[in-house]
Subunit: 234 residues, 2 copies
């Protein structure tokens, strides 16, 4: 199976992208929606809701996008430094590294004889030996090149798209209470659709997944609304 | 090394907790800070900033906490369903599963003879065979029990603690522009300290890590402030 590895990598890459869209959009649909709902309970003008909502979307997309970028960079840096350390160790203390290979297989109950043979044979090719240590001793996969930048942009844009949806009625309806009704209807529909597709692509039951996403959004918005009413003593 | 496995597991568990604190607190310190800064540029009363800020913190902690809970549950469900499938496959198509074991080792350049021996010996103990497939073919680790609930609570509380810090000056200073000055000073200091410790525990260079976190917070707040000013046309 020669195509196994590239196929798997491609699969991982597109699932990284889907994961980033899901991360950005689930927070984007939920938090600006809940913030707008909360403010609608406390102020009567859609103007303030729009200002606060846009400020939140800008802040959230930068925080999440840059956060994603740095997380990706940190992952790549970590991989590189561990890789260098493993190469150094197979040069400097090869016997100890062989012991570590044997430990991996001892855990699965392989015989001492087989453990020794595996360690000896693996040690013949340093690149593959180090690759083995990286993946099976340390559990580290080589991060895709350019992953951090792509991740930042995907998360940031998904957050903005998600956030504009619940905010859109407030652009057109001056009375914030009326705008909230429209916002609830539109956002609930979008949360359900988003939850449905999110569950589909992650291999979960789609309808129950859609309801889960819907309930989180509704709970967050309801709690923010109640809290804002409470603070304002209305 | 008998203590190897439990030690590693404990290590993973505490690093899960630290990861959850980092997830909750970095967004908690950044987004409510930026939202408050944005609103301070558009309104003159700290009252609205406090209402919006609290609504955001409530919404954000619920969205992130419940999000963490569901992510943890999904991970656990996925593990369980894949585990069942692997057990079924080693019963139903053992030869194909043995081929998959061999493929893992073929990738590391082990000889055909050794591949066969490993596959045969691993197949003697079904539990260990399945465990091997789960970890090294599918790359899945058994999630810690109760992880989802712990994760939700840790992320939610970290978000609330992080969010209260930038908001606190607005409770005491009625003029939102003055409150913003205090908020900037307090939050910048906290972002730096948080970034420092975050980098320490994740093994990154601490000072440059602290500056990265600080810059994200400042950029998000600056952009939100500028955008809110722009919308309000002031």
């Amino acid at each position: 199976m020669d195509i196994h590895a590239p196929h798997q990598e491609q699969h991982l890459e597109s699932s990284d992208m889907i994961r980033d869209i899901v991360i950005g959009m689930s927070d984007g649909l939920t938090v600006p929606f809940a913030l707008a709902a909360g403010l609608s309970g406390a102020v009567n003008s859609s103007g303030i809701v729009v200002t606060a909502g846009i400020a939140e979307i800008v802040a959230g997309s930068i925080a999440m996008g840059l956060g994603g970028f740095l997380a990706g960079r940190t992952e790549a840096d970590h991989y590189t430094s561990e890789l260098r350390r493993e190469y150094e160790e197979v040069e400097r203390v090869p016997e100890r590294e062989k012991e570590e290979v044997k430990e991996v297989f001892a855990e699965f109950g392989l015989s001492k004889k087989l453990q020794d043979e595996i360690a000896e044979e693996l040690a013949k090719d340093k690149d593959k030996w180090v690759d083995f240590m990286m993946r099976y001793e340390l559990g580290l996969e080589k991060p895709a090149a350019g992953r951090a930048t792509r991740s930042a942009i995907t998360i940031g844009i998904s957050y903005i798209i998600g956030g504009i949806i619940p905010l859109s009625p407030y652009f057109f309806v001056a009375d914030s209470t009326r705008a909230l009704y429209y916002s609830c209807v539109i956002t609930m529909i979008c949360l359900f659709i988003f939850g449905y597709f999110k569950s589909k692509v992650t291999g979960q039951p789609a309808i129950s997944g859609a309801f889960k996403v819907l309930v989180i959004g509704a709970l967050a918005a309801g709690a923010a609304f109640a809290m804002a009413k409470l603070i304002d003593g209305k």
